[in-house]
Point group: C2
Chain length 257, copies 2
Amino acid sequence: MFTPRTPRIVTARRLQRRKDRDQARRFLAEGPQAVREALAAGVVLELFGTPAGLERHADLAAQAPEVSPVTDEALAALTDTVHPQGLVALCEQVDVPIGEVLAKQPKLIAVLAEIRDPGNAGTVLRTADAAGADAVIFAGDAVDPYNGKCVRASAGSLFHLDVVRASLDVLDLLQNSGLQVLATSGTGEDDVDSLLDGGLLAAPTAWLFGSEAHGLPGELIAAADRRVRVPIYGGAESLNLAAAAAVCLYSSARAQR
Amino acid sequence: MFTPRTPRIVTARRLQRRKDRDQARRFLAEGPQAVREALAAGVVLELFGTPAGLERHADLAAQAPEVSPVTDEALAALTDTVHPQGLVALCEQVDVPIGEVLAKQPKLIAVLAEIRDPGNAGTVLRTADAAGADAVIFAGDAVDPYNGKCVRASAGSLFHLDVVRASLDVLDLLQNSGLQVLATSGTGEDDVDSLLDGGLLAAPTAWLFGSEAHGLPGELIAAADRRVRVPIYGGAESLNLAAAAAVCLYSSARAQR
């Protein structure tokens, strides 16, 4: 049984750092839900599990190309959650080049521009998946999509749609491919309901979302085709990112279906 | 200057516990944003601030009925955040009886049924406010709306609309007052887009939201007028609560305005 000092655990554990993930092009997915989705996506290289975890999820263990029983301590060393659920999968990274996405003529894309909070990024990824988006682009200095907290917040959605990592220049490519680019902004000149009423959301669309703390970078706001606000009818100053993204992405889904 | 041992700090600090908040009918609002909204709502009894906090927010200090400078340690004792921003207001609780809300013929209400996560509850409160809801009801064994984390997540919205604490029986009252009660459920027979298309969301509506972990209590699902799902177009199993609530409440706002 692997312990925290077994070389393969020592190596895997380094994947909790972004630099090492980037270099190895691998990451860790923890918990039965993420492991199930990673197996379905065919990206699991090795499944680490405590004896109890492997017994409880024998169906998952049966699907893994390689299963390695580990001690509780070794499992704890691979995760940053307080209550790991006994399973961690070593996975190949799943992101694809932007060209591959554009070749499929996507209709709905979410761009996370410099969103650094992993929980927020993972939640928007999950919402984009639910709304039927084709791809989510982590743009500029955004959080790493393979950050443990982001993977958890995505609740498996990381494996359901195309994930892209790109620089902020990606905007040009999106526009050149015929997508309208809509920047979410509390002070936008259009509101999302008016666009929906006007039939403007039926076109292929990339939504740009910025961080809650700083909003979108000014150059992206300026370069977008439209700046769009979610209307605020009450006394709130703004919506949080997850709520705003849900309203925008579901408005597009409504118009496109 | 008040220290952690000054009797008024010792008394105020007890308000971090629900039992003591319930008894005193008071609570603590921390940080400049919450303090500003509490002052605007006229519910601040006393403003505690570090010298730096009071200087930085002199405009707020000028509006408080009583200002008490406190040491950094005393302020830290009043908050559960890692980086308190130098201000904590002692406030009267703001919730109102359900009868008062119903007398105003509300058009849009959010019911948080047994939602125990304070961050989720506060976020839905904020979203309900943004969508122009008249009231938010904390029903059954829900988190206390004056929980510090809930107050923070609400970003001031606690002070913008009517907040009610009620038992799960409140459903009867809502229905008897002519509100249609819509229970959100991943397996609901209606989807929110179809209701919107069918003109069914223009009527006065109370939306029921349950916890992410357990959903709505079965008796509420059964007693509601309709069970409504947010459509899932992609591979996600579900939406998180904040996203689902945003889609539902904004669909109602769209139909009612």
